[in-house]
Amino acid sequence: MGAKMAMIATLEQDQSIQRLISGTAAAGLEDVSKNYGEVCALRNVNFTVQSGQVVALLGPNGAGKTTAIKLLLGLIQPNSGKTRVFGGDPTHPQNRMRTGAMLQVGKVPETLRVHEHIDLFSSYYTNPLPLAEVLAAAGLEKLRDRKFGDLSGGQRQRTLFALAICGNPDLLFLDEPTVGLDVEARRALWEEIRRLVDRGKTVLLTTHYLEEADALADRIAVINHGRIIAEGTPAEIKSQTSGKRIRCITSLNIASVLQIPGVTTARRDREATEIHAAEAETVVRLLLARDPTLSGLEIATAGLEEAFLALTQDNSQNANRRN
């Protein structure tokens, strides 16, 4: 399993480098390493973002996602390797004119109003969107005159999103864009991102929300400990962990469940029992036979979460062994 994954990853990286060189990539890291003193944030990373796609960089905190975005925005320089945006240097003003960024910020000037922030950022670009359009896209119509300091957390995030899109950029960098948003606001932002991609924009987003990567991304790159450990479409990543997840409320105890042939793991989750099995049907048949009172039965494909955990746990163990 591990060897197969490694092979897929290598193949993808070779193709990535090819795309980077041929210039169809909107942005990319070419054999990039970045250290902060003793800490190695990224090691020999090869990663591309194709034009017109949503690419999600998925990984736990500290994996190197924000470092990757900062390199692509030209905010920091790599220790080795090359960073490319539209085939050129990320710090080049021509390229900055075509990108927008939403970063995680500790403090934004609080005494300026929403429309003033947008007005200032829009002025940097040659063809910005009209203010009304930006406010509508970010859901800020009613907050136009509100001072930033008087906004709620979710409203602040939406303002930062507005600043990223106000210049009508071709390439958007979104670093953990839906952190702190409630469900409705999160979905609205996803909608907006999809609309942008439909208009031909390219989006690179980092996230540790698996659901978000699954819902939005055309391609996912899983990153951990400074390395890309898997890359592919959401379906490809999910297929790397096979099996089904079975959930039910049963009177059988864990020991009995584990004795059922085909069950790989079982655990209690409050009142329910969660079971993993290579094949669902035989296990479910036996469960129903052994416990006629069984209820709340759910069967699902082991999803992105399982794949992600499997990949990152594997990777963490390898990383620890190496250290």
Partner: protein, 271 residues
Amino acid sequence: MSTATAALSDTQIDRSTSHTATIYLKEAKYEFLKNLRLRVYTASVISFPLMFYVLFGLVLNAKEMIGGTGVPTYLIATYGTFGVMGASLFGTASGLAADRGLGWLQVKRASPMPPFAYFAAKVVLSMIFSAIVVSLLLLLGISFGGVRLPLLEMAKLLATLVAGSLPFSAMGLAIGYFAGPNSAPAAINLIYLPLSFCSGLWVPYMFLPKLVRQIALALPPYHLSQLALGIVGAGRHEPAVNHWEVLLAFTLICLGVARIGFQRDQGKLYG
């Protein structure tokens, strides 16, 4: 570093000159509005010099003389220097330290904003507030302190002190690049207040202890205050050019330090 210079030049982009000018104007406008609405900034930068002036120049000592110049007139020059220094230091250093440490400067750097516009806006902010402080001091002095200065002298004083805000803006940039976002105000005060005292901005120069008077000769605020005092007729009759030279050298040194900080930020971990 070639990438730094590439970022600093915006001759390579499609922006017209008028577009770039608009950016600089807007950056300055919003920097001004932002700080104007910050009661902490406006109050401390404007109120403190005015308060001290009213207390020491108008309420107490109003009829005294310092070496031939009336106290109210003398103190306009010294508190004017004090006010200009405060406006510049707080206008640049604390904002810069906060923007750097809390990630806002990175957002701006990631955008196509010409980096110089950011700094220019802060310098312009300092100059505007410097002008406000000095004008208010003059107003108070004329209205309540019996200060009589020819219009030309008043204009010269204003121009000198506003120009004198530049060395301290440079100093503020240097401090801002090396201070943390929360410690910046304290760091500024630790430098600002002793510097002001030792330069003769509170206790007039001639009343300072001998050792302090010697130290003052090396301090930029002393030189600026001497230029201002010279205009109101209370100077020590030293050639103005010497003072300007010291201020210029100081500005260049501070800009050099700021530039080191600017380069160092490329590899910084936080923010």
